[in-house]
Subunit: 128 residues, 10 copies
Amino acid sequence: MTDPAAQLETFPNPHPGRDYVIEHVVGEFTSVCPRTGQPDFGRIAITYVADQRCVELKSLKLYLQRFRQRGIFYEDVTNVILDDLVAAASPRWMRVRSRWRARGGIRSVITAEHGERSRARGLKNMSD
Amino acid sequence: MTDPAAQLETFPNPHPGRDYVIEHVVGEFTSVCPRTGQPDFGRIAITYVADQRCVELKSLKLYLQRFRQRGIFYEDVTNVILDDLVAAASPRWMRVRSRWRARGGIRSVITAEHGERSRARGLKNMSD
Amino acid sequence: MTDPAAQLETFPNPHPGRDYVIEHVVGEFTSVCPRTGQPDFGRIAITYVADQRCVELKSLKLYLQRFRQRGIFYEDVTNVILDDLVAAASPRWMRVRSRWRARGGIRSVITAEHGERSRARGLKNMSD
Amino acid sequence: MTDPAAQLETFPNPHPGRDYVIEHVVGEFTSVCPRTGQPDFGRIAITYVADQRCVELKSLKLYLQRFRQRGIFYEDVTNVILDDLVAAASPRWMRVRSRWRARGGIRSVITAEHGERSRARGLKNMSD
Amino acid sequence: MTDPAAQLETFPNPHPGRDYVIEHVVGEFTSVCPRTGQPDFGRIAITYVADQRCVELKSLKLYLQRFRQRGIFYEDVTNVILDDLVAAASPRWMRVRSRWRARGGIRSVITAEHGERSRARGLKNMSD
Amino acid sequence: MTDPAAQLETFPNPHPGRDYVIEHVVGEFTSVCPRTGQPDFGRIAITYVADQRCVELKSLKLYLQRFRQRGIFYEDVTNVILDDLVAAASPRWMRVRSRWRARGGIRSVITAEHGERSRARGLKNMSD
Amino acid sequence: MTDPAAQLETFPNPHPGRDYVIEHVVGEFTSVCPRTGQPDFGRIAITYVADQRCVELKSLKLYLQRFRQRGIFYEDVTNVILDDLVAAASPRWMRVRSRWRARGGIRSVITAEHGERSRARGLKNMSD
Amino acid sequence: MTDPAAQLETFPNPHPGRDYVIEHVVGEFTSVCPRTGQPDFGRIAITYVADQRCVELKSLKLYLQRFRQRGIFYEDVTNVILDDLVAAASPRWMRVRSRWRARGGIRSVITAEHGERSRARGLKNMSD
Amino acid sequence: MTDPAAQLETFPNPHPGRDYVIEHVVGEFTSVCPRTGQPDFGRIAITYVADQRCVELKSLKLYLQRFRQRGIFYEDVTNVILDDLVAAASPRWMRVRSRWRARGGIRSVITAEHGERSRARGLKNMSD
Amino acid sequence: MTDPAAQLETFPNPHPGRDYVIEHVVGEFTSVCPRTGQPDFGRIAITYVADQRCVELKSLKLYLQRFRQRGIFYEDVTNVILDDLVAAASPRWMRVRSRWRARGGIRSVITAEHGERSRARGLKNMSD
């Protein structure tokens, strides 16, 4: 598989002089469990304070679709998405949270952050 | 297009001696995506601590309606509304949050703030 | 109109040695918009830490009913109720929050506080 | 009436070496309004960090049932329950919150605390 | 009964260089009340920051099923699960929360933590 | 105990020429379990088509309060209330539904009707 | 008081050849209890199949505001509104439903209909 | 295993002259999947019109607990409970509905009835 | 304005031998009030049984967007959409329901049907 | 692609003498839009009255997973699943309902039935 991060596009932050919070919630994520080969279904929330670049939404959608046939654990995919987005957009702060439908009666949520949270003004009451 | 901020009216803060929090939630916002030309639909929440002037509601409604045919990105419109309202009312603190209906399976929330949040007593548990 | 605050009654705080939080939520408030003459409908939440006196509920209900025919703005009525209650009961801390049904597609929430919030132990998770 | 606190039983805290949070929510509380003689209905949430003793649930239920015919104000009963439970179990920290069904269109919530809240690790997101 | 902790398996944390939060919510927990012999039903939420090892989900499910016929109090089982998981995975921080269906009209929630919460970046807004 | 039905008052139906549906939902009902002596808590919904008399609300409240100390089963109390109200108001149609808080993990709902349901125009979508 | 029905205006049904269902829900209704003089608060839902005339919304709002200071029982006001609207618009079928906030712990719903319900195609799943 | 139906007790229907509907919802049912040996968790709703006997609640609870270690499919257990309850209480009509927590991402609901549904007056709007 | 119905495209019903129900809910509809010139916001639900043709979704979206600047009443737009869709796809049965955000405190729902509802097998429990 | 219906397994109906209703809701369905190549996400509810055979759950899950990479329209896939399940299990009655996440702001629900609905006793109030 080629590096999916290569697919991510960005555009210039229209208001780089202000720390403000952007959140994108992707309700339709699916990957494959590497142990059982069964599909996993989850929701991915990406919350960040842009520096010079913002994440372009269509390329984000296509980037996330590339996990559709990939075998990867919950903990790993959450950190991989965070690393790829940080590499592509160099945000001042970013958080990726994945929420997964139950497997064996257990539902899971994984949350990883990068950078200084103090930059994230207005973070409270975000939708996910 | 003429400057929409010219439309915003204010009235004197009836209790300027106290820092208190005002929130207006506009459930019916629509603008146009500059990339696809398709309409975007969102909810705009404006939360602030007035200084000498309060934002007049009818002019706020008309101001926001002027985005109906305007092509503008989520990140940009949120900051533009904040800048226009700050210019019109000079609040002690203000936050603008836009929540957008899903596009391509992705729903977004943008939050921008201006001024000292410590002035915003009673900010917790606001409705949006 | 005579001063509505004259109507408010209080009773001795049964446990003045402890800072504790009292909240009363009045779901049935109505006043009149001074600009349009149309009725406004809202919910008033009063949250406070009593000092020597507690607010008596029946007089609170009658006090709030006196706004039924009065023309007054959202921002003003919230601060007026706070001032009247502070004058009547001298609480250690008090917050008044009004939530209004939508007008012109905009719903508003106004929150004003008086006194030291640090006295308000157990304030978190209050119902309104 | 005999002292209802005499009814409360406790059992040894099975993990006294750790500060942890216990919450019991009693959805079926009723007492009598001392002014009108009408029944009041509420929900009592008891949240605490045990020291050497935990509150036994069956005796707690019976203790609270003893208010069924007793005339007592909202503010008073909340503090009385807190005092009785503190006397019986000597917790490191305790909070009692009562939520009452509406009377005259007003619903009330009373919250009283005892002891050092900093002991209450994991207090956030409790259910009541 | 053999030690149920012996059943817990772990796997290497794929991103040990970052403090991130993992949460597993098990909706189908049942044990037995040691006093009455009646079954208890609850939901167990396990939230942690892994160090070198992550908790393997299938072994976690089997571990929790071993309480199905065991008589144990709410307060005890919550701390026992925390101790067993800490022993098995040595997390940087961990919280176990159990929520129980009502008994005698009383529903209970027990929350116990281990380790430094400051490691738990992104803990806010977790699902349980 | 004297017959509680003697307490029920009625007033003339202001529109006897039309079959229309009246519903009163009493959220605060309590009686006593005759087997265990423990209090039961429920919600009583009374739905009817009046003939010449309507049920007066204050007397209905006082009538229902008379069950506060009375030992009576769920099935019985529902039918007794229906019989008493039918005797007092002779409605064209009436339904009484009681919903009970869980006992031993079992929550119950009892529904009894009297008269011709075809008279109950507009019955659909009632609130309880 | 002059007849409030005189205030109701109508406009021509734009599609009289089809039986279709129109519903207007007025969330902000208030009148006065004739027994206690206390304000009552309710929600009025008007559902109908127009014949030649539709009810004009602004005049409906003003018509309903005229009950603001009027003493009238729940059962009566529901039927009076139905009679006034039938007189003004001669619908093929009409239903008026009023839902009232609790008084003395009892919340009420009154529903009255006029005309042939079989004309009301598509009545199911209406919002109130 | 002895026949669990032997455990069911009944008591005389206090109002056998009227067809009325009784519903008991048991939120805490667990049995074992006969294929995998894994526990299943469900909610059982029993709705019926009694003839001469009503189902006694405590014996119902104990009867249902006897499935705790029993391997049985969803479809089977629903019909077995219906058959056992019909044998014990000979109702005029009865329905048993089981709702199961998801297995493999699939949640199931099974509904079986016995007798004449036309006897079940007031069946609409039952809680489960 | 050219006829917007000209924009609607259809595709062959893949299973014309079976009566089945198709529903499309468009959450983002906006038109203009012809009296005030203010924008209206609503949700349009289209439910139908196809005959030989199904409605193509992208053309449906574009068709509905053509009302964005058009002045038209609630009652009219609902019937116009129904007529246009019937003309374009000749369904066996069709229902159009519009739900509108509140204006002047009144929210409205309009429902119009075409054709034989008995063809609409499986209509119950549709999502809107 | 080989016929996915070949994958479906069944087992003998344990209670063929009774018409009863079985429902399986699969929350995690994904296929591909044949026009755009983009993934679609939906929920599939299968409700039926078995004759001699019941649908086996694990094979149902695997059968539905075979649509993961298949391009197929909403209307088609719903009918195809119904046809395949009818071929495999010959139910007395069956309904398949698919609910789809929004595309272009439009969310869709497709419902198809096979056989005599009158066999489906207890169909009301099913969960999907």
